[in-house]
C-alpha cells in the first residue's frame, strides 16, 4: 500500500471510530458535542499507562477506553437530566472542561503535550476500526438498538412500556464515550503524541457532522459520513488554498439537496421491498 494511502486510511479509521462514538448516543436522541473529551481520556489514558507503567497495548487500550466509558457513566447520570439542545451544550461544555483539565495536568505534559513510546501500526488501527464497525452492526440488529430509537422517539411512552429510559440513555452515552476512548487510545498509540489542544470543540463538532452527513437513521450512515469527510478533502487537494472552502460549499449544497443525509432508511426499504417480493 502506498504511504499516502496508508496515511489517509489511518485517518479514516480514526474518523470512523469517532463517528460511531457519536452515533450511539445520537441513536438515543442525544447530540453529544463533547466526544473529543472522551477521546482525550482514552488517548491520555493509553499514553500514561504505556509510558509510566510500561503496560502493553493489549492491556492499556481496554483500560483506557473503559476509563472513558466510566467517566461517561458517572457524568452521564447528572448530565442526562438535560435534553435536546441543552444536552448538546452540556456535552459541549463537558468536552471543553475535560480538554482544559488535561491542558493543565503537568504529569501528562500539560500544554506541551505528551509523547509515547509504544506504537500501534496502521494495520492494528485498521483492525480496531473494523472491529468497532462490526460491533456496531451487530448491536444495530438487537433490541438494544430498538430501544435506543424508542427512547429517542418518546421517552415517556418508552418508560411506560417498561424500558429503563435512564438506563438506556446512560448506556448509550457511556458506550459512546467508551468507543471514543477506544479511538483516542489508538490515536495516541499511532501518532505517538497527544496534546489537549487537539481534542477541541471542532473535533467534536466535525465528528457529529460525519454522522449527520452520512445519515443518522441507519448504522451505515456514520461509516459513509466518515468516509466522505476523510476522502473529500484529499480529493480536493488540487484546490490548494481553496481546498476547505470548496469542501464547505460542497457540504452546504449536498445538505440542501439531500437533507436527510447520504444513507437513509428508505434507501434500504426499497431494497427490502424488492427482496420481500422475491421471497413470499
Amino acid at each position: 500500500m502506498s504511504g499516502y494511502l496508508t496515511g489517509v486510511l489511518v485517518v479514516l479509521a480514526f474518523n470512523v471510530i469517532a463517528a460511531y462514538a457519536v452515533y450511539l448516543p445520537m441513536a438515543a436522541g442525544q447530540l453529544n458535542l463533547g466526544i473529543a473529551g472522551f477521546m482525550a481520556i482514552g488517548a491520555y489514558g493509553a499514553a500514561f499507562l504505556t509510558n509510566e507503567y510500561g503496560w502493553s497495548m493489549l492491556a492499556a487500550v481496554p483500560v483506557a477506553s473503559a476509563a472513558a466509558g466510566l467517566v461517561g457513566l458517572v457524568i452521564g447520570f447528572p448530565v442526562l437530566r438535560t435534553h435536546g439542545i441543552y444536552l448538546a451544550l452540556a456535552t459541549f461544555a463537558l468536552g471543553q472542561v475535560i480538554a482544559a483539565v488535561f491542558l493543565n495536568l503537568e504529569v501528562v505534559g500539560g500544554a506541551a503535550g505528551y509523547t509515547l513510546s509504544a506504537y500501534a501500526g496502521p494495520y492494528v488501527v485498521f483492525a480496531a476500526a473494523i472491529g468497532v464497525v462490526l460491533v456496531m452492526l451487530y448491536l444495530s440488529r438487537t433490541r438494544f438498538a430498538l430501544y435506543l430509537t424508542a427512547v429517542k422517539s418518546d421517552p415517556t411512552v418508552a418508560d411506560l412500556m417498561g424500558i429503563s429510559v435512564r438506563g438506556v440513555q446512560v448506556a448509550a452515552f457511556a458506550l459512546g464515550a467508551m468507543v471514543a476512548g477506544f479511538g483516542g487510545a489508538f490515536y495516541a498509540l499511532h501518532y505517538n503524541f497527544v496534546e489537549a489542544q487537539h481534542f477541541n470543540v471542532l473535533l467534536s463538532v466535525f465528528t457529529v457532522l460525519y454522522v449527520l452527513f452520512g445519515g443518522a437513521q441507519t448504522v451505515w450512515g456514520p461509516l459513509a459520513g466518515a468516509m466522505f469527510f476523510t476522502l473529500a478533502p484529499e480529493a480536493l487537494r488540487f484546490g490548494e488554498q481553496w481546498r476547505y472552502a470548496i469542501f464547505a460549499l460542497f457540504i452546504i449544497l449536498f445538505m440542501a439537496i439531500r437533507p436527510q443525509g447520504l444513507i437513509t432508511t428508505s434507501l434500504f426499504q426499497g431494497f427490502r421491498r424488492r427482496s420481500n417480493e422475491a421471497s413470499p
Partner: protein, 290 residues
C-alpha cells in the same frame, strides 16, 4: 484594581450578551443551533475591515458588512434551515457549520490567517475616570444590548407578531396551518439574528481593534454559553448569562489564571445545566400531556 476588573468583566460581558441575544433568536425562537452565527459575527468585523481597507468611509463599511451578513444569513435560511424541514432535527446544524467553515476559509483566502489591525475610528475610544479606563464601544454595546433585549422581550410577549414567532418556534407545521407566513417570518428572523451577531462583530472590532477569520469562535461559543446559562428563550436571561460569563472569565484570570478560564466558564455552564437544566431565568419546556 478590583474596580477596574469589574468594569473589565462588565464590558466583556456586554459583547457576549449581544451574541447571546442573537443566539436566543436563532436557537430559542427557531430551535436551530445555528453555527453560522459565529461566522456572521466574524463577517461583521472582517467585512467592515475589508471595506475600510478598500477606502470606504467607516459608516458605509459597517453598513456594507451588516448587509453582507444579512445576505449570508438569508442563504443559510434557504440552504440550511428551509431544506432541513422534515428531516432529522439536527440536520440544519450540519450545513450551518458548513457555512461557518466556508466563511472562515473565504476570509482566509482573502486576508490570510493573521489577525488584522482594525483602524481606530476615534483617536481614543476610552473614557478615563480617576484612573479607571472604560471602553466607549463597550458602553455602546452594553446599551445596545440592554435596549434591544428590553424591546425584544416586550415584542415577543405582547404582539401578534411575537406570538407568531413563538408558534413557529414550537411547531412550524402548525404555524403554517394557522396562516403564519413562515416563508416571510423565518427569513426575517434570520436577518434579525444575523444583524445582532454582525453588530456584535463590528463592536468587537471597533473595541479591540482587531479582526481575524477565527474571531467569531471564542465570543460565539461563549455567547451560546451565556444564552444557556441565562435560560434559552429568555431574553433577560441572555443579559444575565452574558455578564456572568464575562465576570467568570475576568475573575478567574485575575485570581487563578487563564489556564482555568475554560474550566470555570464551561464548568459553570455544565453546573447550571445539571442543577437547573432550563437555565437561570428559563422555564422548563412545556411537555405534551399523555
Amino acid at each position: 484594581m478590583l474596580t477596574q476588573q469589574i468594569i473589565n468583566g462588565l464590558m466583556l460581558g456586554a459583547i457576549y450578551m449581544l451574541v447571546a441575544v442573537a443566539f436566543t433568536l436563532a436557537i430559542g425562537v427557531l430551535n436551530f443551533l445555528n453555527f453560522s452565527l459565529p461566522g456572521l459575527f466574524m463577517v461583521g468585523g472582517m467585512a467592515t475591515y475589508g471595506f475600510i481597507r478598500i477606502g470606504w468611509p467607516w459608516f458605509f463599511a459597517i453598513g456594507g458588512a451588516l448587509f453582507l451578513a444579512a445576505l449570508v444569513s438569508l442563504l443559510v435560511e434557504r440552504l440550511a434551515y428551509r431544506r432541513g424541514e422534515g428531516a432529522e432535527a439536527d440536520v440544519p446544524l450540519v450545513s450551518s457549520l458548513g457555512f461557518l467553515v466556508l466563511l472562515e476559509n473565504l476570509m482566509l483566502v482573502q486576508y490570510g490567517s493573521d489577525q488584522q489591525a482594525f483602524p481606530a475610528l476615534l483617536p481614543d475610544m476610552n473614557l478615563r475616570v480617576g484612573g479607571l479606563v472604560i471602553g466607549i464601544a463597550q458602553i455602546i454595546s452594553l446599551a445596545i444590548s440592554v435596549i434591544l433585549v428590553a424591546w425584544l422581550s416586550w415584542f415577543l410577549k405582547r404582539t401578534n407578531a411575537g406570538r407568531r414567532i413563538r408558534t413557529v418556534a414550537e411547531n412550524r407545521e402548525t404555524a403554517q396551518l394557522l396562516g403564519v407566513n413562515i416563508r416571510r417570518l423565518v427569513p426575517q428572523l434570520f436577518v434579525a439574528s444575523a444583524l445582532l451577531a454582525a453588530v456584535g462583530g463590528v463592536l468587537f472590532a471597533v473595541n479591540y481593534q482587531q479582526v481575524s477569520p477565527w474571531m467569531g469562535e471564542g465570543p460565539g461559543f461563549k455567547g451560546v454559553a451565556a444564552m444557556i446559562i441565562g435560560g434559552m428563550g429568555s431574553i433577560w436571561g441572555s443579559v444575565i448569562g452574558g455578564l456572568l460569563i464575562g465576570f467568570a472569565e475576568v475573575l478567574s484570570i485575575t485570581f487563578i489564571g487563564a489556564d482555568v478560564v475554560n474550566i470555570t466558564v464551561y464548568g459553570l455552564l455544565l453546573l447550571i445545566l445539571i442543577v437547573r437544566p432550563q437555565g437561570l431565568l428559563g422555564k422548563p419546556p412545556a411537555r405534551e400531556k399523555l
